[in-house]
Amino acid sequence: MSWVLIAGASSGIGRAVAGQWAAAGNNILLAGRDLDDLGRTAADLSLRYGIRAEALPLDVLDFSRHAAFFSEALAKAEGRIDGVVIAHGLLPDQAEAQTNLDVLRSTIDTNYTSAASLLNLIAGDFEKRRSGFICVVTSVAGDRGRQSNYVYASTKAGLTAYLQGLRQRVAKANVSVTNVKPGFVDTAMIWGKPGVFWVAPPERIARDTYRAVRRGRGEIYTPWFWRWVMLLVRSIPDVVYRRMKF
């Protein structure tokens, strides 16, 4: 059976994505900081779906350990990881992110640098092996910065550009790269926050993600209507956009 690695596996989307791949009969490596939580999810997945699931410690900000982490992951997966989903992320308070350097830096490091660093390692391995899929959860927010979340949005936009290039590079080696852009998702990230609407359950995101990866899609919006919403948002002329409050 194949092994799928989920980074950020105790996030709402990470957990749902893990369930989706487990239900399809894949073994799962759950990576994240909260080992107690990941262990419980691992037990749940193997009990529900009759697959093997293992928890693996990963502090995405500990860049120096990324290589060691990936070796451990490979060892747990008996030398071969068939796909990876990167689902970790941080949504900072925008007011803090635009005034406090530590918050700015940790947002960039968590959302962009750590993902890029992990992907540098993973893509190399997949490319050498000439198989595998890479899937990264970004956000519709990356399509156009807004005054209310542009630090977060810029990390997702940066990651989107990284993935565009990576996709071009590894396509030649039969490796797919899927960028998943969810709208508002019903997880702890936005629970209780004002100004959210059309909130989708994480299971919906996971279903769309799985289907997109299976079909080798490069970029999807989930739920689908965000593609058209964001097209609209992107097409607002800047002279108008700068007067807007949303």
């Binding site: 105790s10 709402g12 939580d37 419980r40 999810t41 037990a43 749940d44 009990l47 529900r48 702890a188």
Partner: protein, 449 residues
């Protein structure tokens, strides 16, 4: 955030927390120091049991993982937010089914324990309490107490049926029943009046694992209590046609319908309900049918948000039990009262109940229980419910807290004789009353009350 019970009558604001990790439950408890909190699952209690007006509510729905399952004993250990629906989806294909299930599968394990739910097999198997091996309870002190039938038994029996007022159930061990199929072999039988219904229960309920009667809540006079009895046993493989054998344990492919908005208030007038009831009664014929568990146990689950057919004003669900010794007289009086009031009751369900469970605030007792839906018509409905409470009280019965929205403190105290013992245990566990709900305050459960 505004929350309401399943009956949609009471809507109240509360601060709602929804932890996604085990460790966050404790964090929430520390965070709300000063205001009270109540655990909530899928919100299927009808009244105000899972509401906490201007207090805090802990939504347990994101903590629903299975920890372990022993197929030799059928014991499942899971987090309290696990639903009966996912238990069935996962374990029916392995030959297991909840040993007791309420009329919806959209309930959590934690909620089921807190309400000590019963099902169509109560006369034989009792309530869920009989299948709870133990649970971990987060106390007001922040400590986690391991409770079982042998350990911390006072807390165990105060928590089963305790409506969440002793603490937060974090995880539980539940014993599932072994089954050969997901089907029930049901015998239908129509009766012309209440006497016939009751004597049918008395004559051969013992032959059936599951027994329930749909009762026409609007029939009057000689037809009062006319019913369609639905009694059956979990189908063995040999009960099924051969072509079903290889999919006997598979979940059904059901089409789920939804009620996307609240119906207008005239949709359920006494006339439409009368038409529905007559049609329902006439449509059924005596005889045996093999029904899928979804049709037999959970007919309403096929329609998401079915509660919206009662419109924005919502409805009351009223369930009472009369003791065996009462011999049906209280039941008759109650049915006459409802029937004469002309307050349309869409769904009225009667069943016989078996032994008590030991839960200090548990509802079931040996006798007959009747559940009915009453559209909310304001003051008149509440007055009617108060009258019903008096009838129940006079005949030594009690009202089910998971459905109740209107009981008074005095009537509650008279109906639940183990209440003083419950309060003793609850006060020891939670002297500063950190766990409270709108129901608890209405009924005077808690410190200083």
């Amino acid at each position: 955030m505004q929350l309401s019970g399943w009956g949609n009558v009471i809507r109240q604001p509360a601060r709602v927390f929804r932890p996604e990790k085990r460790s966050e439950i404790q964090d929430v408890l520390n965070q709300v120091n000063g205001s009270s909190i109540i655990a909530r699952g899928l919100g299927r209690s009808y009244g105000d049991a899972a509401l906490n007006e201007r207090g805090s509510v802990l939504l347990g729905t994101r903590l629903h993982r299975f920890n372990s399952f022993d197929s030799s004993t059928g014991i499942l250990e899971c987090e309290a937010g696990a639903t009966f629906s996912e238990i069935i989806d996962t374990f029916l294909p392995r030959g297991f089914f909840p040993a007791v299930t309420p009329g919806t599968r959209f309930v959590t394990v934690g909620g089921a324990i807190a309400a000590d739910v019963h099902g169509k097999n109560h006369h034989r198997d009792g309530s869920i309490a009989n299948f709870v091996e133990g649970f971990d309870l987060l106390l007001a002190s922040g400590e986690i107490l391991i409770c079982s039938r042998a350990q911390n038994t006072d807390t165990f029996w105060a928590t089963i049926g305790g409506m969440g007022l002793t603490g937060v159930i974090v995880q539980a061990k539940l014993r599932l029943a072994r089954v050969q199929s997901g089907y029930v072999a049901v015998d239908f039988k129509k009766t012309a009046n209440l006497d016939q219904t009751l004597s049918a229960f008395a004559a051969d309920d013992a032959n059936y694992q599951y027994s329930v009667a749909w009762i026409d809540g609007l029939a009057k006079g000689a037809a009062l209590g006319r019913s369609v009895l639905m009694r059956g046993n979990h189908a063995r493989l040999s009960d099924l046609p051969v072509e079903f054998h290889d999919r006997a344990l598979l979940p059904p492919q059901v089409r789920h319908r939804n009620v996307p908005f609240h119906f207008p208030s005239f949709a359920l007038s006494p006339l439409t309900v009368r038409l529905f009831n007559s049609r329902y009664y006439c449509r059924h014929e005596d005889g045996r049918q093999i029904l899928h568990f979804d049709e037999f146990f959970y007919p309403l689950d096929a329609v998401e948000h079915w509660n919206r057919v009662y419109g924005r004003r919502g409805f009351y669900q009223y369930q009472a039990v009369f003791p065996q010794s009462d011999g049906g007289s209280g039941l008759r009086e109650l049915m006459e009262k409802v029937s004469n009031s002309g307050r349309a009751s869409f769904l009225a369900v009667l069943k016989s109940m078996g032994e008590r469970s030991g839960g200090l605030l548990s509802f079931p007792m040996p006798g007959l229980t009747l559940a009915l839906d009453l559209p909310n018509a304001g003051r008149r409905t509440v007055d009617l419910l108060r009258d019903l409470d008096q009838i129940v009280l006079r005949h030594g019965g009690r009202v089910y807290l998971a459905k109740d929205a209107t009981l008074t403190r005095e009537n509650f105290e008279a109906m639940y004789p183990d209440l003083p013992r419950f309060k003793e245990v609850q006060q020891q566990l939670d002297p500063s009353n950190r766990f409270s709900s709108s129901l608890a305050r209405r009924l005077g459960i808690g410190a200083g009350q």
